[in-house]
């Protein structure tokens, strides 16, 4: 790309949320609407006449407000594009329906739009042209639930993710290996021919990403780099749906203000805000908070160009434009730009970082490492079903008391690994029985036999940065991926294949070349994969199956040694122990780039409160604001902009309480401030005296810090200023809520 040309970045949704009503914020829904309007107008998302008209009418309601017979004359609709082949008749229908939406706010109209759009059969289906074994043209559709096979619009087969054991590609062929059907003994591999090897690889990647996002609790570790291997090491490295939901539950911020801009040329305001605000300035408002708050959307930034958020695929001049779809994350290099994997990716630039040319990369790395840490946090957070995972845990953790939302977060350790460049940690996971498959490159598939032994190797997610997964080039001829079903089977409803799986484990698999014929299709190609017994490869190559609780137990085991005493102190599972070592890379968008680290230890609120903040040197920075999120209730914070050094959110949960700890570090006017905000939500029927718990917390805090100042804020918020010397200040905020 020539430098002189303006770069155009477009907004693209990568994973379409199956239920948009679960998105937390209107702004996210608005973004999704923009994408869908474009999908629909371009014909990518087919819908019937009636649906075109209905969705179009919601678009009008969202963009123009109530139908106004004065203002909205007969042709007001032609300026919009609702469908690939928009007819007069359709426009009339749209206008007719528009009148019936009187009174709907833009947000409500968007919601209605999405409620209807999500039911479209091709919603969220990523289509790829291919041929079956007989050379017949078909389409492969990748979606949240699996892989769909279409022939001329008809669905002729479907492979749900739980049915798929392996996805691979070799040159321009794409293969899926599926579980044996009922009464069958052997797995079968089905092959499809794609137009070229890039297309095969793209399809493979899309499958890997969708599987990871929708089925796994946390992303899988990319395979370890091996000497002389050829296979793609690509793995999805963003946040999964489960993590996204979890993270977005923790957001506590006022709904960000945003303005819907018309997809027509004329820009108008619906919310009564002053007209003529340019896109740029509008956008500047929300991304900062959005990114930092780990919302249900994260905006991917690329500041290099002068991109704008495109509205409905139209250029400023209002004419429909096929916007170039720069799939940044698709192609290796730019993966490092990804700040976080999210439901929705917004890629655009100039949001707020115009002046930062040089430090751009650093900033992004910085963001990446924050998000990496965050991710690691998230991974160690149990699902909010303590009994369930407690029940299934095998490792002896009798130290824990009931409820046991146990969290031991050891970032320091992770950090060290990152620094010395260890990409992968193998941990023996004794709870994990089952199978492993090992991929060595060169297009050959070495399959490790399942064994009934209970040993397995697991890898802890500890890659040094979110970009580590993208060490790949377009030239790779082969790639493999075994979709392990790490997701908790209860959370994401599994197909019935579980018993089959168990059954299958009872007999050794044989090497086979099977020609499969799933019902209702002729898509099958006998595929010859060399499959060898390769048990000796296990240690080196093992990719992991780890269910959520296994993950946890690994981490717990790792930390068990150090944490034993700590654990004994824990009460009622309402525990969060955090060791945070904010290492230099957290603070990298500044000059000088090094800030000494600072140790905070927070242990259980109800037991002990200990916050030690070492003095932090004053950092003279030239830094631009990344974000500053002012806690609503903190009167001491003012709301001035400061420089955020790091932000962490930790949640722990017990039967009766959910404790969310937000730790933010700021540099504000030369003063470094660490803010720890604990929010305790009492849920369930447990009879906890609200006031007493709060009083207890204060009392304990006072014991620890005799010089503590505290005052009780509104909404049962207690703000405690722990330390307030010249350069550093820590505050601890307790918020108790009764759910």
């Amino acid at each position: 790309m020539k430098r002189s040309l303006p770069w155009i970045f477009t907004f693209n949704v990568k994973f379409y949320p199956p239920d948009p009503s679960q998105l937390t914020e209107d702004i996210t829904r608005y973004f999704l609407c923009l994408q869908l309007r474009q999908d629909i107008a371009s014909g990518r998302l087919p819908c019937s006449f009636v649906t075109h008209a209905l969705l179009g009418s919601y678009t009008l309601q969202a963009e123009l407000g109530d139908h106004d017979p004065e203002e909205h004359r007969s042709d007001y609709i032609s300026e919009f594009q609702f469908a690939p082949n928009q007819t007069q008749e359709m426009e009339e229908k749209v206008a007719e329906l528009h009148k019936t939406h009187r009174g709907l706010t833009p947000a409500q109209a968007d919601s209605q739009f999405l409620e209807n759009a999500k039911r479209l059969s091709m919603y969220g289906v990523d289509l790829h042209h291919a041929k079956d074994s007989e050379g017949v043209d078909i389409m492969l559709g990748v979606c949240a639930n699996g892989l769909l096979i279409y022939k001329d619009r008809l669905r002729i087969n479907r492979f749900a993710w739980p049915k798929i054991l392996k996805i691979s590609y070799k040159r321009s062929n794409f293969y899926i290996k599926v579980r044996p059907a009922e009464l069958e003994q052997f797995e079968s591999t089905i092959g499809f021919k794609l137009p070229n090897h890039r297309a095969a690889k793209r399809l493979w990647k899309v499958c890997v990403e969708h599987h990871t996002f929708f089925r796994l609790v946390s992303p899988e570790q990319p395979p370890k780099a091996k000497f002389l291997t050829l296979g793609s090491k690509f793995r999805y490295s963003g946040r999964t749906q489960a993590q996204t939901r979890q993270a977005s539950n923790l957001i506590d911020r006022p709904a960000p203000y945003f303005e819907r801009t018309s997809s027509k040329r004329v820009s108008r305001s619906l919310d009564g805000a002053p007209m003529g605000i340019s896109d740029q300035s509008l956008l500047r408002d929300f991304p900062a908070t959005a990114r930092q708050a780990a919302g249900d959307k994260i905006l991917d930034l690329d500041a290099a160009g002068q991109a704008k958020l495109k509205e409905g695929g139209r250029e400023e001049d209002g004419s429909p434009v096929k916007t170039p779809q720069l799939e940044l994350t698709q192609d290796g290099k730019s993966n490092s730009l990804r700040v976080d994997g999210e439901n929705i990716y917004v890629r655009h630039s100039n949001l707020m970082l115009e002046d930062l040319d040089k430090t751009q990369d650093d900033l992004l790395k910085h963001q990446a490492s924050i998000s990496e840490l965050k991710r690691n946090f998230m991974e160690s957070t149990p699902e909010p079903r303590p009994n369930e995972w407690e029940k299934r845990r095998i490792t002896p953790l009798s130290l824990q008391t009931q409820g046991s939302s146990h969290e031991t977060l050891d970032i320091v350790e992770e950090k060290k690994q990152a620094e010395v460049g260890i990409e992968e940690t193998l941990v023996v996971d004794e709870t994990n029985k089952g199978k492993m498959q090992v991929a060595t490159g060169a297009g050959e598939t070495c399959k490790v036999e399942e064994h009934l032994s209970k040993k397995d190797s697991s890898s802890l997610p500890s890659d040094s940065s979110s970009s580590s997964s993208s060490s790949e080039s377009e030239d790779e001829e082969v790639g493999e991926y075994q979709p392990h079903h790490r997701a908790t089977e209860e959370v994401i409803r599994e197909e019935q294949e579980e018993e089959e799986d168990m059954k299958r484990k009872e007999h050794e698999e044989k090497i086979q070349h099977v020609e499969a014929t799933p019902e209702g299709s002729k898509l099958n190609v006998p595929v010859e994969h060399t499959q060898v017994k390769a048990e000796d490869l296990v240690q080196e190559n093992a990719v992991t199956i780890a269910t959520e609780e296994k993950n946890l137990s690994e981490e717990i085991k790792q930390d068990l040694g150090e944490e034993k005493e700590e654990e004994q102190l824990r009460l009622n599972g309402d525990v969060s122990h955090v060791d945070i070592d904010v290492a230099p890379q957290i603070i990298c968008c500044s000059e000088p780039p090094v800030v000494k680290t600072e140790m905070i230890t927070i242990s259980d609120a109800t037991q002990r409160t200990e916050i030690s903040t070492k003095e932090v040197p004053i950092v003279q920075t030239e830094t631009k604001t990344i974000t500053y999120e002012s806690p609503q209730l903190d009167s001491s914070a003012g709301g001035n902009a400061g420089v955020l050094l790091s932000a962490q959110t930790i949640t722990s949960e017990s039967i009766s309480t959910t404790t969310t700890t937000h730790i933010t570090k700021m540099v504000k006017g030369g003063v470094s401030e660490t803010r720890i905000e604990k929010r305790i939500v009492i849920t369930g029927d447990a009879d906890i005296d609200h006031d007493e718990a709060l009083a207890q917390a204060i009392k304990e805090a006072k014991e620890q810090h005799p010089d503590i100042k505290y005052f009780r804020g509104k909404n049962d918020t207690v703000i405690m200023i722990m330390k307030n010397c010249n350069h550093s200040k820590s505050s601890l905020l307790y918020r108790m809520h009764r759910a």
């Binding site: 819908c47 019937s48 649906t51 019936t100 039911r119 059969s121 699996g146 619009r153 002729i156 479907r158």
Partner: protein
Amino acid sequence: MAGLGGGPAAFGRCTHAVVRALPESLCRQALRSAAGPEVDFARAEREHQLYVGVLRGKLGLQVLELPADESLPDCVFVEDAAVVCEETALLTRPGAPSRRKEVEAMKRALESLNLNIVEMVDENATLDGGDVLFTGREFFVGLSRRTNQRGAEILADTFKDYAVSTVPVHDALHLKSFCSMAGPNLIAIGSSEAAQKALKTMQQMSDHRYDKLTVPDDAAANCIYLNIPSKGHVLLHRAPEEYPESAKVFEKLKDHMLIPIANTELEKVDGALTCCSVLINKSSEL
């Protein structure tokens, strides 16, 4: 206006029905898959009148009754002539050449209801409405002796909002010869091997998991589910006198208002309950 039929929650809503009287030619000339006892015309008429009476009187539907056409012995089976989903009607091209003209009267009837009409003009396409199972979320189209791939494609083009999956049908006339919807998420399915195999295919094809109601008799698995505002779940099913074991299964549906309907005569010419009506849900006129 809820759009997309208001979603699965509104499944079974119905305001209008199109039916057609029996021609006397039915007794001797109607197509039948197996030879057997002759149709008792008087009894067939009585049964049909009861059927229409339930739709009109008991359920309060507006029933358009088309006159019989003696040159079309199978014309009572209106279901095969049109597939109606929400505001759109697809006029089919029935697989049996002798039945193609049945569509003309149906077209007039549907036009009078102001539906968006789509005609199947492709001469390579065939489709019988009896092969089309609409679940509220998606379509399954049986590929049978009467319905081919091209017909299914045109159906998919007509109802773009929905997934359309094909299901091979063997050993039965139509897909709905052994199954139907018995509730918003409930597939009634016969016990024969063919029925069970088709169900497996449907389950494999669908992202959605349906509940199933297995009845011993394939013919009894064809029932009519309706969601009538004042009555809730309504199920028209075959009478206990005909299929006692299957009727017992239906009787376990506690939430449904059950209406047994005898269909002894038309069954002799492969007629099932759904065959005799086209059900339409007209949302209030805009």
